[in-house]
């Protein structure tokens, strides 16, 4: 179940999990359940991104450019 506004989406998570997270963030810099969950999700997404960037080498990029030139998309 998701609710969307222009800048935020509300996502439902199981209540027992929410309680555990609330316990976990006590005494940390996180001011709310949402800010903690946002932080964790951003970490996961950015680590995925870093892994993919590592896998995409300069050599790969040159191959992409060669293909784009052959297809007329790059000078």
């Amino acid at each position: 179940m998701e609710k969307e506004s222009k800048n935020y989406t509300t996502i439902s998570i199981p209540t027992p999990l929410a309680k555990k997270i609330k316990e976990r963030i006590k005494g940390t810099g996180f001011t709310s359940l949402s800010s903690y969950v946002t932080y964790v999700l951003r970490e996961i997404i950015s680590s995925d991104k870093e892994e993919n960037e590592e896998a995409f080498t300069k050599e790969d990029e040159e191959k992409v450019k060669d293909r784009l030139r052959a297809l007329g998309y790059l000078e």
Binding site: N52, A55, V64, Y73, E75
Partner: protein, 196 residues
């Protein structure tokens, strides 16, 4: 046909790997009177019978790399920028429709277009997959980009469902839905693999 209007504060982009249905998407949007910007520097040919729907003959990636492409001029219009070009999008507000296609068909289509058998086909395949993953991840984490992923093969199978999804993504009514569906000419897009 009712002319559609897009948000003039937003840049709209059709993207995806080359030969993965980006021209067909532009054609669908254009067919629905949704604002699109393109020129005729690269005319229609055997590989894209209905045209490429590109700006600057498709060569805007160089300008994006050099920060010379006047992207703000195209706010409120759809333009086509293939996947690699998305790496160089300046900060802004974007809505992107990103097309993917059965990779073997993409490779077949590339070979046909360059009129040469790719002797390193597996290597090219891996390179396209890597680039696709990289770009998809980059656009997913950018907060100034909203993206709708579509699949070329699925559009051919279920044009109505997919075009409705596109209109919903753009917050547009369905007045021109049938016109948009009519642009999907299955006779042209016959070069598909059954295991797509």
């Amino acid at each position: 046909m009712i002319p559609m209007k897009l948000d003039e504060n937003v840049n709209y982009i059709v993207s995806g790997q080359e030969r993965s249905g980006t021209s067909m998407l532009m054609q669908i949007l254009h067919g629905g009177s949704i604002p699109t910007a393109f020129d005729d520097l690269r005319p229609a040919d055997d590989h894209n019978i209905k045209g490429y729907y590109e700006l600057e003959g498709g060569k805007i990636i160089n300008k994006l790399i050099n920060n010379e492409f006047p992207i703000s001029k195209y706010k409120g219009y759809f333009i086509k920028i293939t996947a690699y070009g998305l790496k160089f999008l300046p900060p802004g507000e974007y809505k992107i429709i990103y097309s993917e296609r059965n990779i073997e068909e993409t490779l077949d289509s590339i070979e046909k277009m360059i009129r040469k058998k790719d002797l390193n086909r597996e290597e090219t395949k891996s390179n396209i997959i890597k680039l696709n993953n990289l770009i998809k991840n980059e656009i997913k984490v950018r907060t100034d980009i909203h993206v709708l992923f579509v699949n070329y093969n699925n559009i051919l199978e279920r044009p109505k469902d997919n075009i409705k999804k596109i209109l919903n993504f753009l917050n547009l009514p369905e007045d021109n839905l049938q016109k948009m569906i009519d642009t999907v000419d299955l006779k042209i897009y016959h070069n598909t693999r059954t295991n797509a």
